[in-house]
Each structure stands twice: as C-alpha cells, then as structure tokens.
C-alpha cells in the first residue's frame, strides 16, 4: 500500500501554485500596463481633423483606464491569483517551520558549515558530544538520541567507508530500504473520509467535467465562420437574394442573432422612445417588412445613425447603437459571404455599399460630400452649384484648394480640416491583366486556370508608407482601410469576391478561375472601398479563349516512359545479394515483435513477384529488340541486366 505524505504534499502544492501564479501575475501586470499606458495610436484614437477629435476622446475614454479591466474573466483570474498567492505564502512559511523531511546532513547535525575543515569537524564533535553525553544528561532520551546522531555524523565525515556510504546512499550505515510515498494529503486515504472523497471524485468526473465540456461545446457551436453566429447566417440566407436593395439592408443587419438579446425592448418607456426616434427618421426609411420589436428597434437605431439623427438617442439606446456598430463590420462581411454563396453580384455590391454608408454615417440620397468634415447638405449644395461645380467627392477633390466652393462660412481651421481630409481620402488607380500562368504559352485555352491580376495603387500614400485608418468621424470605432475586389459575369453571377486588406501602397490581387469554352467573353471588375462612399471603380475585363484542341499534345519525356522497366531497389539488391535482401526484409516487417512465418511469406512473395517481373521485362525487351526501336534505352537496360546477373 502506498503511503500518502502530508509534508510532501506541501511541496507539490507549492510547485503547482508557483506554476500558476507566475504566468498569471505576468498577464495581469501586462494587461494593467496596456490599460494604463498604451499610446493613442495603439487604440486607434488619432485625431487628424477636428471632426475626429470627438471620436478620439470617446475611444480613449472607453478603451483606456482601469475601467476597461472590468470584465468577468479578468476579475475571476485576479481573485484566484490573489488567493493562490496567499496560499503560496502560507505554505512557504509552514514549510520553513516544518524543516527538512527526514534527511541526514552531518554538517547540520554538528552545527557547522557545509564542507568545513577536518579540524573544525573535530572541534564541533568534541563540543557536541560533551554537551549531549548520556553521563551528563541522565534520564534524557532526547539528549541520548542527539548524542547518537552526533557520533554518526562524525563517523560519516571522518571514516572513509562511512563517508562513501553516506555519499552514495545518504546513510553512513550503507543502503537503507527504499520508502516510496506519494505527495498527496493523507486525509484522502483516511477510512472516515472515504465516502466523501469518492463522492467528490464522482461529482467532478461524472458531472462537472462533462458539463463543462458540454457547455463550452454548445456555446462554441453557435458560432460559424469569422465568429458570426449560425443563426445570423440563416437569417441572411433567408433575407438576401439577387433583388435585395441597399435600402432594405439596415433591417437585415438589425435582425442578426447577435443583437436579439440586447435589442429586446422590455419596458413601455423603451417602446415609446423607439416610437419617438422612428418619427424622426421615418422619412429616410422604407416601410419595414418586419414588425418584430427586436428588428424594429435595430432598424430604427441604424437609421438614426445613417440619417445623422443620433442626438435624439438616450444614453442606453446610444449604447445599443454603439454595440451594433461594433459588430457591424464583421456582420456585413458575413452578409457579403452569403451573397457570394448565392452567386448574386448585385446583392453583394449593395452590401458593400451599405457598409460604406454605415462607416460614414450617411444614407443613399445624401451628397457624397457629406464625408468631408463640417459639411452639411447646404455646403454640398453650394459646391454642386458653384463654378467649378462638383457633385461627387472625386470631382471635388480634383478642384485645387483655392477654388473649392462651399467653404464660405467656415473658419480657417475648419477649411484646413477639409483640405487635410481630402488628402486622407483614397486616390486609387486600378490596373488589371488577364493571363495564364504558364512558362510556355500565354494564350488562354479552354479549361486553363487563368489569372486576373488586379493591381491597386494608392496614389495618396507616399512611397514606402502604409495606408492609415479610415477617416470616419461618425463611426465610433477605428476602422482599417480595405478594398473589395469583385469579378462577375455580365449576367450578374459572382466569379470571385475578396476583401483586400493589405495596407501597402501597391497591392496585387490575383483572381483565378477556370477558362470557359472557346469564345470571347467580357467580365465586370469592381473595386469598392469598405468605408468610403463614391470611390467605387468599375471596369470591363475581356477574355478570349481558344479551343483546347489547339494546344500541343502532352508528350511524355522518353526517359519517363521507361520508368516501368526500371528495377526497384529490392530487385537490384535481391539479385546482387540474396542474403542482404532477406535481412532488410526482416527489418521492414519487424514493427511487430513476432510473426516469423509472415516474414518468410513476405520473402517468398517478393521473390515470386520479382520473378514475374523479370520475365515480363525480358519479354518486353525481346519485343523491343524485334521491333528494333529506340536503341538508346535498349542499351541502358542491357547494362542493368548484366550488372544484375
């Protein structure tokens, strides 16, 4: 029966607690460090124009400071770590007072330094033995025991035989019996506790562990790709089709499974507020097709954001909108992937455009110029009417700063913001090329895998620099610039749609697809921003494929054609040296420890097969010789034949 050992358990517990608290403290400290001392750039709270200032302040407020650490995971971990640290200290001190677990250290017994000189040892021995001598301490068993130990220690340090024994086995008397125990608390083995221990074990193993696994599993199985819920995907599949228009998309987004719990209106006051907001944004909205309170609330809030009417929102509904916008990017990406699955290019493009509107906080009928800071419909109208007139943002950017219209009522600082923003806004050049990646022939034949290489060049970004964050003052979170590249047929079917996220100045995106049957084709190539309105690029890509029969036929290299006749390594060896072969064969089969018969079988089998092959080869050779073709290969095999024989 194995013994459990309490004092050893202290050390086990100490070690495991150390293993936990060291990395745990490290992670806590680094998290606190990030929360308190991270720079504004790290959290994306940069203000390039005064319009972005408000957003930067908000971001700083929400993602900096001790408040951000207020999550369940962090607090639980922190409390646990504190608890473990306390246990650690307690264990550490109790171990210190407990002292060493029965060990024989002669230096310690004689109360001298480890490795002391012989002279010192003798001196200490004399002193100790005088002090604890039984004659001087009659009827004191403890002193007697100490005296024995002192004598033993002295012997261990002076007598060479005893010394060797001590060094080897830890005891001057020689080898002791081996005592094995386990560093677990003794009460686990106590008969009185047996039921309790068993019960705990049972509960942990049969109830807690399976429940934990199940809950983790059922929770994680709710989420599909890109951490979007399966229910959301199902909802999008139901609601998106090739006739979906941009104006109905806020409703689709509002119905996502992620918002269903949060957007549930509970009280009458909530409902009244939604009604009030609805009255404000109704003119921007199409008639809702779902009247479910969750969808309606999300829909109304999103429209408030799009119509720039967020000032009517209360504190709590503002938070709800913020929550929706936080997830909007990944959810819109999921919507696009659903469109891709349904192969409808138009719906996908509409989803991308919806994403642009959400990022800029503006809606379909608004002027593109509203993306500029401080611009309202009034200034946009001036810009459109003025001379030179600019209806689109691209036109407006092309006008030199001095003659830009609609700036009359702005201060110098505000004008500066607008010019700066025009520099940040993208200026993208797109080039495309169709080819087949082959080293011999660039023409496209039926069944080839052809490549459309789309080169995106950000002209507003200096050489060697990277594109910064998107200028989107109304979107409360930092957003990276990305471009959607879509290729579709004239009938509106998607061939490929991808998000190009690289921030480099020049990015090459390759689309690969199988070339259709011989003929002339035209495809539509779209390059759309993920966050800016009015910078969409559209062009036509032409492709001429030739019939596959025009391709030169595949010719096997003459050397490769001979492969079947080449002898295997085994055949070579078997003919060269039978012994070596049987050896190697045994080794190969010896994964298992027995089976002599099967090994022999294997050898016999190999030789039989080999004979067959040889015969075949000879027959082939004869035929070849008779036909008299390809003398080259014939020579080769002859050499091998001689060598083998």
């Amino acid at each position: 029966m194995l013994q459990y050992d309490d004092s050893a358990f202290y050390f086990v517990a100490l070690s495991f607690i150390t293993l936990y608290i060291v990395p745990s403290w490290y992670s806590i400290i680094s998290k606190v460090n990030v929360a308190l001392f991270s720079t504004d750039e790290d959290i994306g709270a940069i203000s390039r124009t005064s319009a972005e200032k408000q957003k930067a302040v908000e971001l700083k407020k929400s993602s900096k400071g001790l408040k951000t650490l207020n999550s369940t995971g962090f607090i639980v971990n922190f409390v646990l770590t504190l608890l473990c640290s306390a246990i650690f200290l307690w264990l550490y001190f109790s171990v210190q007072s407990n002292g060493e677990v029965n060990s024989f250290d002669p230096f310690n017994i004689l109360q001298i330094d480890t490795g002391a000189e012989l002279k010192e040892i003798k001196k200490a021995y004399k002193k100790m033995s005088l002090k604890f001598h039984p004659d001087k301490n009659p009827n004191n068993p403890q002193a007697e025991a100490t005296f024995m130990m002192v004598a033993k220690a002295y012997e261990a340090l002076t007598n060479p035989v005893a010394k060797e024994n001590w060094e080897k086995y830890g005891n001057p008397d020689g080898k002791q019996s081996l005592a094995v125990s386990i560093g677990l608390p003794e009460f686990l083995l106590n008969v009185d506790n047996r039921n309790l221990v068993l019960l705990t074990y049972l509960v942990v193993m049969v109830v807690v562990v399976p429940c934990a696994v199940w809950s983790y599993y059922s929770n994680s199985s709710k989420f599909g790709e890109k951490d979007v819920m399966y229910d959301s995907y199902a909802w999008y599949h139901h609601n998106l089709n090739e006739h979906t228009l941009t104006k109905s998309l806020p409703e689709v987004l509002a119905g996502s499974a992620e918002f269903r719990e949060r957007n549930l209106t509970k009280s009458q006051a909530d409902k009244d507020e939604i009604g009030r907001i609805l009255a404000r944004v109704k003119s921007h909205m199409q008639k809702p097709s779902y009247n479910h309170p969750v969808v309606l609330k999300g829909n109304v809030l999103l429209h408030a954001h799009l119509a720039r009417e967020t000032d009517v929102l209360s504190q709590s509904t503002g938070e709800d909108l913020r929550y929706m916008l936080r997830y909007s990017s990944s959810l819109i990406d999921a919507m696009i992937s659903v469109c891709k699955h349904q192969e409808s290019l138009k719906a996908a493009l509409n989803c991308i455009k919806f994403g642009q509107y959400v990022a800029q906080g503006m809606w379909i009928k608004d002027s593109e110029l509203l993306q500029l800071p401080h611009f309202t419909e009034k200034e946009a109208g001036h810009a459109a009417k003025g001379k030179p007139s600019a209806k689109t943002i691209k036109e407006y950017m092309a006008i030199p700063n001095e003659s830009k219209k609609g700036l009359k009522e702005f201060t110098d600082e505000q004008k500066e913001d607008i010019f700066k923003c025009c520099d940040i806004l993208p200026n993208l050049a797109v080039e495309s090329k169709v080819y087949v990646d082959d080293d011999e022939d660039d023409n496209v034949y039926e069944g080839d895998l052809c490549t459309v290489a789309v080169t995106l060049t950000r002209k507003n970004v200096a050489e060697g620099e990277k594109a910064g964050l998107v200028h989107a003052p109304r979107f409360p979170f930092p957003r990276r610039e990305a471009w959607w590249v879509a290729l579709g047929t004239k009938e509106g079917k998607i061939i490929s749609i991808d998000k190009v996220t690289s921030a480099e100045r020049v990015v090459v995106h390759k689309i690969k697809f199988l070339a259709p049957r011989a003929g002339h084709y035209e495809f539509d190539l779209y390059v759309l921003s993920n966050a800016y309105v009015g910078f969409d690029h559209e062009e036509s890509v032409e492709l001429t494929t030739q019939d596959a029969s025009a391709l030169p036929e595949y010719k096997v290299h003459p050397d490769d054609a001979e492969l079947d006749d080449e002898p295997t390594l085994f055949e070579e060896m078997m003919n060269a040296n039978i012994e070596a072969d049987s050896d190697s064969d045994e080794e190969d089969d010896s994964d298992e420890d027995d089976d002599d018969e099967s090994e022999e079988d294997g050898i016999r089998e190999l030789t039989e097969e080999d004979l067959k092959k040889r015969e075949l080869q000879k027959a082939r050779k004869k035929a070849a010789a008779a036909a008299g073709d390809d003398s080259d290969s014939d020579d080769d095999s002859d050499v091998e034949e001689v060598h083998a024989d």
Partner: protein, 476 residues
Amino acid sequence: MSKAIHLLRPIIPIIPEVEKPTSSIPFRERVLWTTCALLIYMVCSNLPLYGAQRARSSDPFYWMRVVLASNRGTLMELGVSPLVTTGMVMQLLAGARVIDVNLDAREDRVLFMAAQKVVGLLVTLTMAGAYVLSGTYGDISSIGLGNAILIVAQLTTAGWVLLMLDEMLQRGYGLGSGISLFIASHVSETIVWKAFSPVTINTGRGTEFEGAFLAFFHLLFVRRNKLQAIGEALLRQNLPNLTSLMATFLIFMACIYMVGWRVNLTVKLQKARGLERPYPIKLFYTSNMPIILQTAFVSNIFFVSQMLYKQSPSSPFIKLFGEWAVTSPDSAAQYSVPVGGLAYYISPPATFSVLLHDPFHALFYLLFTLTACAVFGRMWTEVSGTSVRDVARQMRDNQVVMKGHRDTATAKILSRYIPIAAALGGICIGLLTVLADYSGAIGSGTGILLTVTIIYDFYEAYAREFTNVANGMTQM
C-alpha cells in the same frame, strides 16, 4: 481460394462497425472525438490488470514499449501492436493474393474491412494468450486458471476497444490515425510524469521527489545552500533531473525546426494549364519511419540475444552477440540491460558519464544508428511507393510536369532530391535521436522523435484544414 473472403459474408452483420459520418465532421467536433479517444487510451494505459502477479522478472519488451505505446502490467500491455500486426498481415495477404480483393468494388471493400477486423480480433486474442502462457504475469499454476482466463479477457477487451477507437478516428471522426495518436500521447505522458510526478522516494538521504520539476522546488525550499540545491536539481543521477528535462525541450525544438526544412519544387498540370502547385520535398522525406524501423530492428536483435543469453549464458558465441545483466537494484525500475557483445554496442549509452567512460561504445552506436537510419530511410521510399520511380510514374500518368523543365525528364529532377532527402533525412533523424540519448532526454530519443513528427503531422493536417476553407472561399 480467391474468394475466400466471401466466406465472411454471413457474419458481417454481427461485426461491430463504426458508421461513416453522413456529412463531414467540423474540425471542432473532430478534436472532441480525438480527445475522447485519447482519454480512453490514457485510462486504459493506467489501469492495472486484475489477477496478475507483480512481475519481478526484467522486462523483455522494454525497448518496444515506446514504439508500441504499451504500458507494462496495465490494460494497454499490448499497446498498438495488434493494430500494427493486423495491418501488416492484411497487406501481406492482399499482396500475396491469398485474398483477392478489388478495392474499387463496394462489396469487396466491405468484406475486406470485415476481414481486417476479424483478423484484428484474432490477433489480439492470440497475443493476449501468448503473453499469459509465456508467464509474463506469473506461472499459470501459481495464478490459477481462472485468473489466467480473466487476464486474457481483459487484454483482449482492451485490445478490441483500441481497434474500435482506431477505426472511429480513421472513419473521419478524428484527426489522423489512432496508432500515431496513441504513440505520441504515450511519450508525452511519460515526459509530463517525469517532470511533475508527485511520488517521493526516501533512500535514507531524505525525501526526494521523482518529478524533476517538483524536485527543483523541493530542493530550493529545503536546502539552505540554494546554489547547491540548484546544482542537485540539475544534475542528480538517480532520478529524473532538470537537465534531461531541458534536453528534451531542446530536442523538441530542434526537431520542430528541422521538420520544416523542405525544397519546394513547382509542378504544373498539363491538363489544366495555369494550375501550379508547390511540390515540397521535405528533409524528413520519410518522416519518422527510419527511426521506427531502426528501433524495431534493434529490439528484435535484443529480443533474440536476450533469449539466447538466458538459454546458455556461458557460450562465447552468444556472449559475442550480447551479454545481459539486470540494472542495479537501487534504481526505481528494473530491467535487463546489455553489458557486452554486439547488443551492448548498438544500445544507447545510458548517461553522459557512461559515454565518457567508454567512448568506443558511443562512437559505434553513433555510426550504427546513422547508417541504419540512412539505409532504412532510403529503403522505405521503395516500400511505401515514394521512390523517384514511383513518384515520377505517378506524375507522368497524371500529366504533371515540373515547371520550367520541359526538356528534362521528371525522374531526373526528382532523383536530384528524393534519394538525398531520404538518406539525409534519415541521418538527421538518427543524429537527433543519438543526441537525445546522449543528453539523457526523457522519453528516449526515438520517443521524442516519434512524438514531434506525429505532432507536426497533426499540425499540418490542422493547417491544411484551414487553408482548404480559405481556398474553398476563393474558388467559389
């Protein structure tokens, strides 16, 4: 004769079978299944056999334990050996045309699987019987017939459970094959145990922990001289120490680093132009096969030599082949070790001090292992159908050619890489193993090598899983 397999038809309904999943199982779920299988294996490999006498004799299969993932005296005594044996037997039978199957026909495939299972069950039963009859758990007369039957029943059931687990994993519920999974987990378990074992041993020198890591803490707290404590934790000889733990870690890292070395050839499909694929030729072209074969080879030599030595310990010829002795009685586990003859020279030196003591042994062992690994690596390409000839033929039949080498034969380009990779990879694997053995890494060099390569294979499967998802999206 050719349709002997059809005799099995009436019993097919009663053979337990894992049903194929109706749709492909998501990665998350497969991880779950794999974990379940692993747990069952772990429990089995720690449950002692009921009715067996505690074996006092030295362990004759000590060398095989790592490769076979078996644990002495537990339900997993047989480890994966029934699985491996069954696979081999079936391959041989099919290869020798004793059973003639057309694996393209559905019925034949079902029959072949059934036959494989029947053979598996029989092999397990036979092996269990052989173990008990040979007296591994004590003489039958001393343990009694009832216990003997009980032991056979336990071993057989455990073996069948393992067979079913392997089938489940291979049917698409798990990741990779059961065999490699069990081997890897066995070695990992050993390493974790050696690092964290809470067992204490008192030899009169005071309590010592078996686990290297726990011992480090214990010594650090207990010893007054902290420097000495660290020194002892690092270098103690009788139990696992921190040095071997670190060596294990280093070998792990080195392995992972080297496993990634590869030459990327680019191939293109003649049928679909423009489709080019990287065709990586890894340095570890044959993966861990050389070391498995080498271990199996060495353990067979040991097995035979040990048997011969037991028969007639005095014969000079047998002594030349191998001389055996039981390890010093104070170490925790007892097993026979070779002390002379060929068997001694091809066994790894136990510790660094032994290495210095007999450098010739070390040198011979090194040369032997490296050569054996290179030869086995080269040979395995032939056996497994990955030799230059086979690969080139396969490419030719699929109209795959090397990009940018129109005028050179594929075989010629491949022969520049494959044989070298196979042999050199074998040598590297051998070298790592030897290094691990010299530095006293836990779980033996072979074990670590196996584990790393298996884990890397898992990792690659995992990576493939995700690139597939990504590719599937761009193709649509």
